[in-house]
């Protein structure tokens, strides 16, 4: 008996070890030896990509890296692949991206004189995919569900504020008004990208994130969900009654391919028509031979290095660091090709209308760096730079920064850390790192950036504490005059650069690789998160 017990105990231990091993390798993607996929240049693959000729119907297959799941709904779904699915099935009132407002279910918005009430005029020619008419009731129903705390909707904090909640009112069948509790210039953006669900379907649903209705969605989008195969794909067929005109491609498929190397081979072999790659992956591919085109597009992401203001309090020392850096060289090393990035000079992405170049740019100047270093009185400077070890962009940037600062006489120790652990540590003001990286895709409105810089703000990982900045952000939020707002945010950008805590590195673009027989990419507009603003405009030869 004892022997058996020992045996079982040994197995127990062994199983824990085995499982531990599994978890360990599961944490990172299997770092496949890419040689197999790399040398794929030679083959002249010119078979018709994606012509899944099932009765002459055209099918567009887009490789995505994760499963959207069967419970996609407009209230709680907030992950990228879920939102991409929602964009196919449902329509928002309007989309608000860097190029401005694009109307979908709404035709126009009137703003009241007191800048509190926004009146949305809706289209009266829209039908749900089950034939029911779309009306203001659906809009009111959706916004009310979103503003109900118990539903835990993703946009809750955009509709309910400490000062009160947005008032949602139906004026007539095709007019809805939304009233803010206080003046906020970002309101139009806050109401955007909220997709409208059908009241007649969801009326009696108690739990939006989990119910039977979610699996048979009824929407107003360009496509209708036809089939969801867990872990494999989501298939959509075109909505002939789409209010902006029936899509030209019959079927649209999101094919789930989690492994990057497999996805890379699949796009080259023509098994999928579109895929998102990194510059390094795209550089490995022979685009001509595989009949592919790359569309780099700006998502408004800013990658940056931050200095922990809690540890390096001396502004001169921080400036010495900034003057030693060469932004262009870092971006070139990390992103390979200038067409894959823009260089930001402040915290705003260069495609923002509030972006200004009229700031201290800290162009590399080793003499200045040495002057500031001398002025700071720091001798034998030694810094710790923490980075996410599994992110190739961050590790390349870290090495470049180490090398550049070395030349200015500043020694940098690199610490590669697990992404989650690092972000947990960054939140603590007494974390042991002097510098680390960040990256964000914030909203279009400049106020969305305040959460990075205001004292004690949720994303203020620099532990930046300048009361003057808090005041400026508060002013910008209340100001409704565009010209004056622009002035305020220009000042903010300038002052922020002058305090030398935040070093914008690059604004990297997302690279959409598409087979050459697909056209209409420009017309369908490439946008953050959803990729295509309107898939109905895509065409296939």
């Amino acid at each position: 008996m004892k022997k058996f017990f020992m045996k079982s105990t040994a197995f127990l231990l062994a199983s824990v070890v085995v499982l531990g091993g599994l978890t360990a390798c599961g944490g990172k993607d299997p770092v496949a030896d890419t040689t197999a996929a790399n040398d794929s240049s030679a083959s002249g693959s010119n078979d018709g990509a994606g012509q899944t000729a099932a009765g002459g119907e055209s099918t567009f297959t887009y490789a995505i890296a994760g499963d959207p799941g069967a419970n996609v709904n407009v209230i709680t779904t907030s992950d990228r692949f879920g939102l991409m699915t929602i964009k196919m099935i449902y329509s928002p009132l309007y989309m608000y991206n860097a190029d401005g407002i694009n109307y979908f279910l709404a035709k126009s918005i009137d703003t009241s004189d007191d800048k509190l009430t926004y009146t949305m005029h809706l289209r009266d020619d829209v039908k749900w995919s089950d034939g029911e008419k779309f009306t203001a009731d659906d809009v009111v129903f959706t916004f009310e569900a979103m503003a109900d705390e118990k539903n835990a909707g993703w946009a809750y904090s955009q509709l309910v504020f400490p000062e009160g909640a947005v008032k949602i009112e139906k004026i007539d069948d095709y007019t809805v008004s939304l009233t803010m509790p206080f003046v906020n210039s970002a309101a139009i953006e806050m109401f955007s990208q909220i997709f409208i669900m059908p009241k007649h379907i969801y009326e009696n649903v108690e739990n939006f994130e989990n119910n039977d209705v979610n699996t048979k969605p009824v929407g107003t989008g360009p496509y209708v969900m036809a089939e969801y195969s867990p872990g494999s794909y989501v298939k959509f067929t075109k909505n002939e009654n789409y209010f902006l005109g029936a899509p030209s491609i019959d079927n649209f498929v999101y094919r789930i391919i989690e492994n990057e190397n497999t996805a890379m081979t699949a796009i080259q072999s023509g098994e999928v028509n579109a895929w998102i790659g990194t510059p390094a992956q795209v550089a490995q591919m022979n685009l001509e031979a595989a009949n592919l085109t790359v569309y780099p597009y700006q998502e408004g992401r800013v990658g940056y290095m931050m200095i922990n203001a809690n540890r390096i309090k001396d502004e001169n020392f921080r400036k010495a660091i900034f003057y030693a850096l060469d932004k262009k060289a870092i971006a070139d090393a990390a992103l390979l090709d200038p067409q894959y990035y823009d260089l930001p000079w402040s915290f705003m992405p260069p495609n923002s209308q509030y972006f200004t170049e009229d700031v201290e740019k800290y162009e590399q100047n080793l003499d200045k760096s040495k002057e500031f270093l001398a002025a700071s009185g720091v001798t034998n400077p030694e810094l710790t730079l923490a980075y996410n070890a599994s992110d190739s962009l961050q590790s390349t940037s870290a090495i470049m920064i180490q090398e550049q600062l070395q030349k200015a006489g500043i020694k940098v120790n690199l610490t590669g850390v697990d992404a989650t652990a690092l972000s947990q540590q960054m939140k603590q003001a007494d974390n042991p790192y002097d510098m680390y990286f960040g990256g964000y895709i914030m909203g279009i409105d400049p106020d969305t950036f305040s959460s990075l810089f205001e004292s004690g703000a949720p994303y203020n990982y620099m532990h930046y504490d300048y009361p003057e900045m808090n005041d400026l952000f508060a002013q910008g939020r209340k100001e409704t005059d565009d010209a004056k707002r622009k002035e305020i945010y220009t000042t903010i950008q300038q002052k922020l650069q002058d305090t030398a805590c935040f070093y914008p590195l690059y604004s990297n673009k997302r690279l959409l690789v598409v087979s050459k027989n697909v056209s209409g990419i420009e017309e369908s507009k490439l946008v953050p998160v959803y990729t295509f603003e309107d898939t109905s405009k895509l065409q296939m030869k």
Binding site: F5, L19, D29, A36, G66, G69, Y156, S229, T262
Partner: protein, 317 residues
């Protein structure tokens, strides 16, 4: 014997309970929890409290554990934090897919391993043995993801013989031919992954048996090589091999994690990996518990099989 089996089953129960406690505790001490995944820094503390209460995270730890355990026992595995789907429902789709892939591959590898292992073991240090043992040694060191990428590159990309991703082409769920075309590459990879360790096991077991005294005695009596092999050695070699079968039980869930991920096979592998990356704790916990429970059950099974097939053990019990 019945007494022995009952005793083995009874010892397995606390083991499984221990596993659930271990999994729950490990997840609890992870640097990040389910609440962090569900809330954003923008939410007010009240909202966060509300979400905590909704999912029962405001209760003391042991209550949380008991609720969770109670759920598992009743088949309610909870919901994914990321996709909000029922985990039991997801697994009901994914485990069969994994079994479809692992079972044929393991069976093939198992039968091949017995044949090759016996062949190699009975011809120790001869050409056949050197080739089989040599190849197994190399194969044991070949990572499965690399091997699968190689297959994808040659069969899928260069020669364009087979589709690269998934289990079916879109809209061809009913077509067996389409399934088989998708099945070949992951099947070869898995067979190739399971094979070498089993071959080595059978080989060394055969070699040991051949060096036993009874073989020498048989030889002295003038028994032919075939007689010794099939009448005597085989029986003794196959005994430990049967127990290996039980220990392979957990492979039905977690046996193909890497291979499935590479081929985009909609089984447990990609689901598990995605859950780990997305810090979808409920899923990770359930799969850990499931897989470790199967390890215990597998060992229980192999002990019982051993007991049935080997009278010597029966007497010891």
């Amino acid at each position: 014997m019945a007494k022995y089996i009952v005793r083995r089953i009874l010892t397995a129960i606390p083991m499984v309970l221990l596993i659930t406690i271990l999994c729950f505790a490990l997840m609890h001490f992870a640097p990040y929890n389910a609440i962090d995944a569900m809330t954003t820094p923008k939410m007010s503390p009240e909202t966060i409290e509300l979400i905590k209460a909704k999912y029962g995270y405001d209760k003391p730890l042991f209550i949380q554990y008991l609720r969770w355990l109670n759920g598992i026992l009743n088949g309610n595995f909870g919901y994914s934090i990321v996709t909000k789907q029922s985990i039991a429902g997801d697994l009901a789709v994914r485990i069969p897919n994994t079994i479809k892939l692992v079972l044929p591959a393991y069976a093939t590898a198992y039968i091949l391993a017995i044949i090759l292992g016996l062949l190699a073991g009975s011809h120790k240090n001869k050409a056949a043995d050197k080739v089989i043992d040599g190849i197994s040694s190399i194969a044991i060191a070949v990572p499965s993801f690399w091997f699968s990428m190689l297959l994808i590159f040659i069969l899928g990309y260069k020669l364009k013989l087979l589709p690269i991703v998934g289990m079916h082409s879109v809209g061809k769920e009913a077509s067996m031919a389409d399934f088989l075309r998708h099945f070949i590459m992951p099947f070869i990879t898995l067979t190739f992954t399971f094979l070498p360790a089993n071959v080595k096991f059978v080989r060394s077991s055969t070699v040991t048996q051949f060096s036993e005294d009874y073989v020498l005695v048989q030889r002295a009596f003038g028994a032919s090589r075939g007689e010794i092999m099939f009448k005597h050695v085989c029986k003794n070699v196959l005994l430990p091999i049967i127990t290996r079968l039980g220990m392979a039980l957990q492979l039905l869930v977690t046996g193909a994690i890497i291979t499935e991920t590479v081929f985009g096979w909609p089984g447990v592998g990609p689901y598990f990996i995605k859950a780990i990356q997305g810090m979808d704790y409920p899923i990770v916990m359930i799969i850990l518990v499931l897989s470790s429970t199967l390890v215990i059950l597998g060992n229980l099974l192999s002990d019982i099989l051993y007991c049935i097939t080997d009278p010597r053990i029966r007497e010891m019990g």
